[in-house]
Structure formats: C-alpha cells, structure tokens
C-alpha cells in the first residue's frame, strides 16, 4: 500500500476517475427530469469531489483535504434535506416530482 506510485497508480489515476464520475453526475443532472434523481446525481458529483480532495491530500502528505471532505459531507446532508423537503412540497401540490413544476412555484 505504501508503494503505489512505484508501479504506476498515481495521483492522475484518481483524478481522472473522479473526473469521469463527476461528468456522469453532470449527465444525470442534465438528462433526468425527476427532482430526486437530480439530487442523487448531485450526491454523485460531491462524491467525486471528495475523492479528489482525499487523493490530493494523500499524494501531498497533507491532512487539510480530509477536513474539507468532512465539511463537504455536512453540506451534502444539508442540501439533501432541503431538496427532499422541496420535493415533498412539489409532490403534495402536483402529485408528481418533475422539474417542470418548478416554474409554477412562486414563494
């Protein structure tokens, strides 16, 4: 485990993997119309960002990246709670969670 760089798996491997996962998350946000699916894709993107933080921290011998991952996790939980509350509100009003109902929300 300590000699990963010696045989080729370095920082770039992790960064490219997280870039691919992040782009799959963007694809989900763009292509799905269900609010909950969009929130799940956002969680996917945040996971990719966390992977980037941890990889940079590991390969530079720095712990600040792991602290940032803590904060990102907290923010992700907060965002999921608020987003799901809005989704519940939309569902009670229109009996469907589709992104096109967002334009009818006025305050």
């Amino acid at each position: 485990m300590q000699n990963i760089e010696a045989i080729g798996i370095g920082q770039n491997h992790y960064l490219i993997l997280s870039a691919i996962i992040f782009s799959i998350g963007i694809m989900g946000v763009l292509f799905r119309k269900n609010i909950i699916m969009m929130l799940m894709s956002l969680e996917l993107m945040l996971n990719a960002i966390n992977l980037t933080f941890i990889a940079f921290g590991y390969f530079n011998g720095n712990l600040n990246g792991q602290i940032m991952v803590f904060f990102v996790m907290t923010l992700a939980a907060a965002e999921a709670a608020i987003g799901l509350a809005i989704a519940v509100m939309i569902y009670r009003k229109f009996n469907e969670v589709n992104i096109r109902y967002f334009e009818q929300m006025k305050g």
Partner: protein, 184 residues
Amino acid sequence: MSTFIISNLWFYVLALSLIFFAFKVVTSANPIHSALHLVLTMMGVAGLFFHLNAQFIAGVQVIVYAGAVMVLFVMVLMLFDLKHEFNAFAKGLVSGFLKLMSVALVVGYLVGVFLESGESKGVKASLTTSGDQTSTQLQVTRDLAQLLYTKYVLVFEVLGVLLLVVAIGAVAISRIQGGTHAKH
C-alpha cells in the same frame, strides 16, 4: 511483488465498478434501482478512501452517506411511489446532443488539465512514511481530530449553526401551506 499487483488490481476493480455503478445510477429508469446503485457507488468510494489511508473518512462515508443520506432518499422515494416513471429522461434530440457534447467537453477539459499539469511527485510525508501500518492509521486519525478542533474549529461551529438552520428550514418548507403568493 504480489502486494504491488494486489494494490493495482484493487484500484482497477474499484474504479471499473465505480464507473459502472455511477452509470447505472444515471441511466436506470426505476429510481429505487438507481438509489441502490448509488449506495454501491458510495461503498466503492469508501473503499478508495481506505486505500488512500483515510480510514476514518471511509467509515464516516459508509455511516453518513451510505447510511443516513441514502435512507433519507429511499424513504422519500417510497413515500412517492414512483415505481414506473413515464418521462424519466428529457426529450429533444438537439438539446440532448448539446447536453452530451457539453458533458464530453467538461470531461475532456478536466482530464486534459490533469494530464497537462503532470504527475506531481509529492513528498508523501507524514501520511505514509512511518513503518508500522497500525500506528500510522491511528496517527492520521489523531492528527485529523487535532486539526478539526484547533485550526478549523470556527468552521466546525458555523457548520453546526448551518445544520440547525437546515433542520428548522426543512420542517418549515414541508409544512408550508402555499406561501406569500398563494391563492386560497
């Protein structure tokens, strides 16, 4: 020698399964299936964290993400009863093509930046040096706690206030009865 191969294999197996599961999250029509695939993705990311000597973060990832947040998602999905979703994907060929192109642009940009910037031959200092694996893990977790409660203690407190605001706000949003512009 064999540990090298195992470590290589560990990364590639995890990476391929992560990409597969992430793709399934986005493409499955049933939201329950994609939620379960998202749980698998988070477990895979936790495995990569473990591989990167962030054992405590890996545990937090499994408990908080794959546990709490995903239970929240699945519970709301069960509440909605969305087994068959008719218009799961956005329609429109031209806009779909544009979206796909923009995603491809983003991934190409990111990978290009990573490849152009070159491999940083980092010092690999305190995280990996000292010989005994167990003591290193303990040390990383201890340093993490010290950093969290000394240098970043203000951010920690602010996040506590934020979580309080979010808890109250979620209850307020879900109990709201139409808002200021409502026509009763």
